[in-house]
């Protein structure tokens, strides 16, 4: 079988075939002949010649996680039918998105306010910590998407600013 894995925006194509007790894995024009024992669900002991790889694989909803040599990698299956269309963000826009899920505790800007780069626009509290959303550039506030005491989720846009 042929599988594509995506990890941190890189795609890795691998083929794997099982013949008798061996697995034949081909990646990057190299074939690896290995044996493998699954000791517990997801816990693999792989032998490549005399070398032993110990790894643990576990599944999330869509993604898979692999633990190897003390590191955790998160991989996703690659959609072969078309690309997922991600909305491209304008430069600096990401700075107005909430970095965390939490509660809006203070709103320091309103519609039509002129703001300077670095001005605090909104204060979000999560896990008893405050996170300040600052203006990424000079501009005029077009819209404030929340009011005080609103719940905000990670990635939601707090304030929209028309760049000057």
């Amino acid at each position: 079988m042929f599988i594509n894995y995506e990890h941190e925006n890189n795609v890795y194509g691998v083929t794997v075939e099982r013949r008798e007790d061996n697995y034949f894995i081909t990646y990057d024009n190299t074939e690896y002949k290995v044996t493998c024992e699954e000791k517990k669900p997801g816990q693999l002991i792989i032998k490549i010649g005399d070398r032993i790889i110990k790894s643990i694989v576990t599944e999330g909803e869509q993604e898979k996680y692999i633990f190897i040599d003390g590191n955790v990698y998160k991989v996703k299956p690659v959609q072969l039918t078309g690309r997922t269309n991600k909305r491209k963000k304008e430069a600096g826009e990401a700075d107005l998105d909430s970095p965390i899920s939490g509660k809006i505790v203070n709103i320091k800007s309103k519609k039509d306010d002129t703001v300077k780069k670095g001005d605090v626009l909104i204060v979000i509290e999560a896990m008893k910590m405050e996170y300040l959303i600052r203006a990424p550039y000079d501009g005029v506030v077009k819209k404030v998407n929340f009011k005080e005491n609103d719940q905000i989720e990670i990635g939601q846009t707090t304030v929209e600013i028309t760049k000057k």
């Binding site: 079988m1 599988i3 290995v34 790889i53 576990t58 040599d69 955790v72 896990m127 008893k128």
Partner: protein, 500 residues
Amino acid sequence: MFKKILIANRGEIAVRIIKACQELGIQTVAIYSDVDTTSPHVTLADESVNLGDPTPIESYLNIPKIIQIAKEKNAEAIHPGYGFLAENPDFAETCNKAGIKFIGPSSKVISLMGDKIAAKKTMEKAEVPVIPGYHGSKQDNESLAKEGIKIGFPLLVKATAGGGGKGMRVVKSEDMLLESIEGAKRESKSSFGNDTVFLEKYLEKPHHIEFQILADEKGNTIHLFERECSIQRRHQKIIEESPSPVMTPELREEMGKAAVTAAKTVGYSNAGTVEFMIDENLNYYFMEMNTRLQVEHPITEMTTGIDLAKWQLRIASGEPLTLKQEDIVQRGHAIECRIYAENPKNGFLPSTGMLHKVEEPVGPNIRVDSGIITNNVVSPYYDPMLSKLITYAENREECIQKIIWSLSNYVIMGVTSNISFLKKVLEHDEFHKGNTTTHFIDNYFSEWKKKKNALPVDALISLAIYDSMHSKKEETVRYKEADPHSPWKHVGRWRVSEEA
């Protein structure tokens, strides 16, 4: 000794206390909110009671509800753990009035030590050195700014009721002063319901060193040596060790005496911690006293062999402290790493989600105090600390090696943790040299980004085999594993049909 107590907390500390109770033959009542139904502390206890709404104020901070549960369950005492109600004098007082023993010092002492200004004034009177600053009652922003300018920069703005880095700001220059005062006040108001702040000289190259105290209710007070807790991010500790790499025997003795004086001055009872800062020249200053069992208590337990949680229970039940100062010996070296659900690549912001797999490292002198198991969900409601990894060894260098090994064998998948960051800190030359000032993370890791490393070939091989094993297409070959000599394996797959 108590027959039954209630543990008013969650996570690893609830687990720690329940286990101590079980060893002493005390029945336990756990409490849990709706998002914690599958947490380990819930099933570990003898009884557990649902609090409903996970919002802290409705659950683990809900004094009337917790007192009512304790009464219904005939719990004789309440252990508050740390955080939540642990340093809330009203809670201690309410317990008292309800005839339930609060496991900790008296409400009066909590109140005094909780007020950082009053605490420092008390210590000054007892001739325990304190740090220069403004602890006055003029709390309007202009007066505070004036006092701040008098002390000079860098300067620390800190909430009187604060703790754990909440309601605290470092001010590097005058133009940031007002904004920082406002921010600290607001954060303190929302976290502690009180917006009094104080100002303090900000020490250069400081170490955070604290002394563990045990005191019984008859006034017998001892210390159990120091913990160095300087490795902090966002003003919260992430790595602690004992003994401190900068401590000298003379300073240890002097600071130990000062810590005992501090505790005795306020009539302290139960387990507590006196926090000091020391500067480059080993001058020490009293910072505050924590009137609870600390997160990092295990490293003291490892180096002294004394179980602090059990002593808390004994002392609260009225037993005298039979340990004498001269019997307490500090031996070997212990390090603790706090395992957080957070992303060091992204300003240490907490991460949430499902823990698809959790496996702890196992080995000699490796201790894991954990509040999580596989399939638990890390919610945004509470502190993102998942567990603590503690190792013990003959000396500091071996202890560092052991904890790095342990971190490399700690499996947490599904939620981003700080494990690889902790390893990098422990591997750093300056850490090995003992240059562990409180600015360590800022100095050496402020620009730290985990290298975008390619997926290693071994990982790809593992994934491919895993998918091959678990894919439905290859199911037939898996039957072979059942019995290699079975004739059925040559038959292929059958379909069982009712109609045939």
